[in-house]
C-alpha cells in the first residue's frame, strides 16, 4: 500500500496526488450521502454535465501553459452550434457542415493569435473582445431564435454510445490522452512550456514563438468549436445563450489541475483531467446531496476557493522543496 502510494506520488508529483486524494475523499463522502453516487450511471450524468467545459479545458491547458488565456471559447461554442445548425437545416451534408464549422472556429483562434502577436494586445483583452464579438455574431446569425430540426445521424455525435460509452466522453478521453501524450513527449509540444516560461529566451533558443501562438490559440478555438457542435447535437437545438460564463469554469478546472495561470510554463494534461473531474463532481454532488439549490452556487464558490487555495499551498510547498 505504501509502495503503491509512493509510486503514484513519484509519477504524479505532489499536486496531482493531493488532488486525486481529494477526489477520492469527496467520492467517499458522497457515497455515504447517496448510494447512487458511485455508480457508472451517475458518473455518466455528472461527467456529461461538464463535458463541454471539459473538452475546452484541453485546449485551454495548452494556452495557459504557453503564457496566454482564452476567454473567447464560451462564445465560439454557441457560434459553432448555430453555424452547424444553420448549415444542416439548410441541407448541407452533416460531415461538410461540421468541417466548415470547425474551420470557422479555427479562424477565431487565428484572429486571437494575430491580435496577440502582431498587434501586441494582451490575450486577456484580445480574447475578451473576441468573446463579445463572436457572441454577438451568434445572436445576429440566429436572429435570437433557437435552431432545431436536425437529422437523426447528427444526434449520434452528442447522444450516441460506442462500447457503452457516450460519444462525447469518448471524444474527451481520446483528446485528453492524445494531446496529453504529445504535450509530455513531443518536441513540438514541449516548446509550449519554454515560450510560456520566457518567450524571449525561447526565441533565442530558436523556437518559432509566433507559430506556437497560432497553434495553441487555434487549437483552443477548434476544440471550442467541436464542443459547440457536440452541444447542438446533444440538445438537438442551438441557441446563442449556450455556455454563458463557461470560460471561467474552464479556466477554473485548468487552474485547479495545477496549471500556473500567473506565470506560464507549468502544468500538464493529467492535472487538467483531475481538475475537470473535481469541477464535475462539485457541480453534481450538490444536486445529489439535497442541499437547497439556492445555496448551491455559494457552496460551489467556496469549494472553488478551497481548491485554489490547495493549489497555491502545493505550489509553495514545491518551491520550498526546490530551494531547500
Amino acid at each position: 500500500m505504501k509502495k503503491l502510494f509512493y509510486s503514484i506520488y513519484n509519477r504524479l508529483g505532489f499536486h496531482s496526488t493531493a488532488l486525486l486524494g481529494v477526489l477520492i475523499g469527496l467520492s467517499i463522502i458522497m457515497r455515504f450521502r447517496s448510494p447512487y453516487f458511485l455508480t457508472w450511471f451517475n458518473f455518466e450524468i455528472l461527467f456529461m454535465g461538464f463535458i463541454l467545459e471539459a473538452i475546452m479545458a484541453i485546449g485551454m491547458t495548452l494556452v495557459i501553459i504557453s503564457g496566454g488565456i482564452d476567454l473567447s471559447v464560451s462564445s465560439v461554442l454557441p457560434f459553432s452550434a448555430i453555424l452547424t445548425g444553420l448549415l444542416i437545416t439548410a441541407g448541407v451534408p452533416v460531415a461538410l457542415a461540421v468541417g466548415i464549422t470547425l474551420l470557422a472556429a479555427l479562424s477565431v483562434g487565428m484572429i486571437n493569435a494575430t491580435l496577440k502577436i502582431v498587434l501586441d494586445v494582451h490575450p486577456f483583452i484580445a480574447t475578451l473582445a473576441m468573446m463579445l464579438t463572436v457572441r454577438g455574431l451568434a445572436v445576429a446569425m440566429s436572429g435570437g431564435q433557437s435552431i432545431s430540426g436536425f437529422p437523426a445521424e447528427f444526434a449520434f455525435l452528442g447522444q450516441g454510445y460506442i462500447f457503452g460509452i457516450p460519444v462525447p466522453i469518448l471524444i474527451f478521453i481520446i483528446l485528453a490522452v492524445g494531446l496529453g501524450t504529445l504535450l509530455r513527449h513531443h518536441k513540438f509540444f514541449q516548446q509550449i512550456y519554454f515560450i510560456g516560461y520566457d518567450s524571449k529566451a525561447a526565441r533565442v533558443s530558436g523556437i518559432n514563438v509566433t507559430l506556437m501562438n497560432y497553434f495553441v490559440f487555434g487549437l483552443s478555438s477548434l476544440l471550442a468549436g467541436l464542443a459547440g457542435i457536440i452541444a447542438a447535437s446533444q440538445y438537438g437545438t442551438a441557441h446563442n445563450s449556450f455556455a454563458i460564463g463557461a470560460e471561467l469554469k474552464v479556466i477554473a478546472a485548468v487552474v485547479i489541475g495545477g496549471t500556473n495561470i500567473v506565470r506560464g510554463g507549468e502544468g500538464n494534461m493529467f492535472g487538467t483531467v483531475l481538475g475537470v473531474l473535481f469541477m464535475a463532481i462539485v457541480f453534481n454532488a450538490f444536486a445529489m446531496s439535497g442541499i437547497d439549490t439556492y445555496w448551491q452556487e455559494i457552496v460551489n464558490g467556496i469549494m472553488l476557493l478551497v481548491a485554489i487555495f490547495m493549489v497555491e499551498a502545493a505550489r509553495k510547498r514545491q518551491n520550498r522543496l526546490a530551494l531547500g
Binding site: H185, H186, K187, F188, Q190, Q191, Y193, F194, Y197, D198, K200, A201, A202, V204, S205, G206, I207, G265, E266, L321, A322
Partner: protein, 494 residues
C-alpha cells in the same frame, strides 16, 4: 598565433550617450581573458555586442581573420560564441537536460523525444565537465551556481569556441567560485576561449591569462597577467581627475543625527554600525552586491533585518515599515526609480507631494490645489526640472529630470536624514552636477545625507566621509584626505 576573434574600432551609443569609443580588442584561442573596469565603463555593452544582443554602431568583427556579422544571439551561436547571462533564463520546471537541448532534442521520426538519449547526452556533457548534476533534475531546483554550470553545458553542447560570462561569480560562494574556475581552466586546456567580466581582482589574477581594462568606454590597455600587478590595474581603472566638477566639501560638521548599531540580516550583512552627522554627506562605497542598498533598505524598514538598533537624536526608535522611518525623519531615495520610486503615469506634481499629502491639506481633509501648485512650482524651479510643466506625466521626462522629481519628492517631505541610492545612475553629466549641487545645498540646511554609489569618482568628489562595504560588512571608514579611489578600491576588492 593569430587571434580567434578580433574587434576593431567598435563604437556604440545609446541615444546621446557614447558607451564604447573605438574599442580594439582581440581574443586568442584557448585563453582566459578578463575584462575589468568601473561600473559604466562599457564592459557589459562590449560583451553584449560580441554575443549578438546589441548591434555595434561602427567597427568590425573578425572571426579567424574573416569579417563576420553577429546581429542576433542565434548568429553568435552559429559562429560558436555563447553568452552566459547575468540573469539566467532557464525554464524552472523543465529538466536540466531539456533546458540544455531546448529545441534540439533528439527525436524519433514522429517527433517524439527520445528521453533516454536526451538524458544520456546531458550526462555525457556533465561527465566531460566533471560536474555532478543529475540531468533529470528540474532546473528550478538547482542553485544559481549550478544553473550557471547548466548554461555553460548548454554553450558546450552548441560547440561554443568562445564562452562569455558576465560577472559569473557575483552570487556564488567561495567553494562554488573555486569549482567554477576549475571548469574554466579545463575549458581553456581544451582550446575554448573564456572571456569574463569581474570586479574581483583577486579572482582575475588567479585565473586570467590576459586582462583588459576599460574606462569610460575606452580601452585603456590589455596586459598579460604575468606582467602586471593589481595596483597597476587599479590605476588604469581609475586614473582621471574630476574633483573640480564637484561642489566644495563641508568644513563644519554638526552633532550626531542618527546612530545605527549592529544592523544585520542573516548572513547577508552584519555588524553595520555608523553615525550620520548634521551637515555632512556620508558615502557608502563598494561593489555591486556588497549589500549597501539591502542594509539601508533594512534600516528604512523596506527590507528584512534580524538585528540592529537605530537612534535618532539620541532616542531609540523602532522601524518596522517605511512609514515608521518617514515619521522619524528618514527618507530613502531609491535606486530603481522606474519601479519603486515614481508613479510613471501620474503627474510630476502628484509625484512630488505623494509622500507628504498632509502638507497640502486645507481644513477638513480636502486637498488644497493652490498649496500643491505653490510648493511644486517652487521645487521645480530650484531643482530646474524641465520642462517646467507640473501636469506632465513623469514617464515623459528624461532620466535626469525623473531623478530630480524623485529628489524633489523627498525634499518636499523635509527629511532630517536622506538616504540616496545611486542618485545619478543613467543621468547625463549636466543633470548629474545639478543633483550633486542640490545634495550639497541640502546638507548646509542642517540635515544629514547618506549616498550609496557604485561610481567611485562620485563618492570621492561628493562625500565628506566614506564607509567601504565588502560582502555585507564595513571594511573601512575613510575621511578627509583618505577618501581616494585607490583606497576605496583597495578595501572594496582585496
Amino acid at each position: 598565433m593569430g587571434a580567434l576573434l578580433e574587434l576593431s574600432n567598435i563604437d556604440k551609443s545609446f541615444h546621446e550617450n557614447r558607451v564604447l569609443k573605438s574599442v580594439n580588442i582581440s581574443f586568442m584561442a584557448g585563453e582566459v581573458h578578463a575584462i575589468v573596469g568601473e561600473n559604466g565603463a562599457g564592459k557589459s555593452t562590449l560583451m553584449k555586442i560580441i554575443g549578438g544582443i546589441y548591434r555595434r554602431d561602427t567597427g568590425e568583427l573578425k572571426l579567424e581573420g574573416t569579417p563576420v556579422n553577429v546581429d542576433s544571439p542565434i548568429d553568435a551561436m552559429n559562429h560558436g560564441i555563447s553568452l552566459v547571462h547575468q540573469e539566467l533564463s532557464l525554464a524552472d520546471n523543465r529538466t536540466v537536460a531539456q533546458n540544455i537541448f531546448c529545441n534540439r532534442e533528439p527525436t524519433n521520426r514522429l517527433g517524439f523525444i527520445k528521453w533516454s538519449e536526451l538524458y544520456r547526452m546531458a550526462q555525457d556533457l556533465f561527465d566531460d565537465m566533471a560536474v555532478d548534476i543529475h540531468p533529470k533534475s528540474l532546473a528550478g531546483s538547482l542553485n544559481v551556481a549550478r544553473q550557471q554550470l547548466v548554461e555553460i553545458a548548454k554553450a558546450l553542447s552548441l560547440n561554443a569556441r568562445i564562452i562569455i560570462m558576465d560577472e559569473p561569480t557575483s552570487s556564488l560562494s567561495e567553494q562554488e567560485v573555486d569549482s567554477l574556475y576549475g571548469i574554466v581552466e579545463r575549458l581553456r586546456d581544451r582550446g575554448v576561449t573564456v572571456v569574463f567580466i569581474s570586479h574581483k581582482l583577486t579572482e582575475v589574477f588567479r585565473v586570467a591569462d590576459r586582462i583588459t581594462v576599460l574606462r569610460d568606454g575606452e580601452l585603456i590597455g590589455t596586459l598579460p597577467t604575468a606582467d602586471t600587478s593589481s595596483s597597476e590595474i587599479i590605476r588604469m581603472m581609475v586614473g582621471r581627475n574630476i574633483e573640480d566638477l564637484y561642489p566644495p566639501k563641508t568644513k563644519e560638521v554638526g552633532d550626531a543625527l542618527m546612530d545605527v548599531k549592529d544592523l544585520g540580516f542573516r548572513n547577508q550583512f552584519s555588524d553595520i554600525s555608523f553615525t550620520v552627522k548634521r551637515g555632512e554627506i556620508l558615502g557608502l562605497a563598494g561593489l555591486v552586491g556588497a549589500q549597501r542598498s539591502e542594509s539601508m533598505l533594512a534600516l528604512f524598514g523596506a527590507a528584512p533585518k534580524t538585528s540592529g538598533t537605530v537612534e535618532v537624536h539620541g532616542k531609540p526608535i523602532t522601524i518596522k515599515s517605511p512609514r515608521d522611518a518617514i515619521a522619524a525623519g528618514i527618507c530613502y531615495l531609491t535606486e530603481d526609480r522606474r519601479s519603486k520610486g515614481l508613479f510613471q503615469t501620474m503627474t510630476v506634481s502628484w509625484n512630488i507631494v505623494v509622500t507628504s499629502l498632509k502638507k497640502i491639506l486645507a481644513t477638513g481633509s480636502f486637498y488644497q490645489g493652490r498649496k500643491r501648485q505653490d510648493a511644486v512650482s517652487r521645487l521645480m524651479e530650484s531643482l530646474d526640472i524641465n520642462p517646467r510643466r507640473p501636469e506632465n506625466w513623469v514617464q515623459n521626462l528624461s532620466g535626469g529630470n525623473q531623478q530630480k522629481v524623485l529628489l524633489g519628492k523627498w525634499l518636499f517631505a523635509e527629511p532630517e536624514i536622506l538616504i540616496v541610492d545611486e542618485p545619478t545612475r543613467g543621468v547625463d553629466v549636466g543633470a548629474k552636477s545639478q543633483i550633486h549641487l542640490a545634495l550639497r545645498e541640502l546638507v548646509t540646511t542642517g540635515i544629514g545625507v547618506v549616498v550609496i554609489s557604485s561610481e567611485q569618482p562620485e563618492i570621492v568628489g561628493l562625500c565628506d566621509r566614506v564607509l567601504v562595504f565588502k560582502e555585507g560588512r564595513i571594511t573601512a571608514e575613510l575621511s578627509g584626505d583618505e577618501v581616494t579611489q585607490e583606497e576605496i578600491v583597495k578595501y572594496a576588492t582585496v
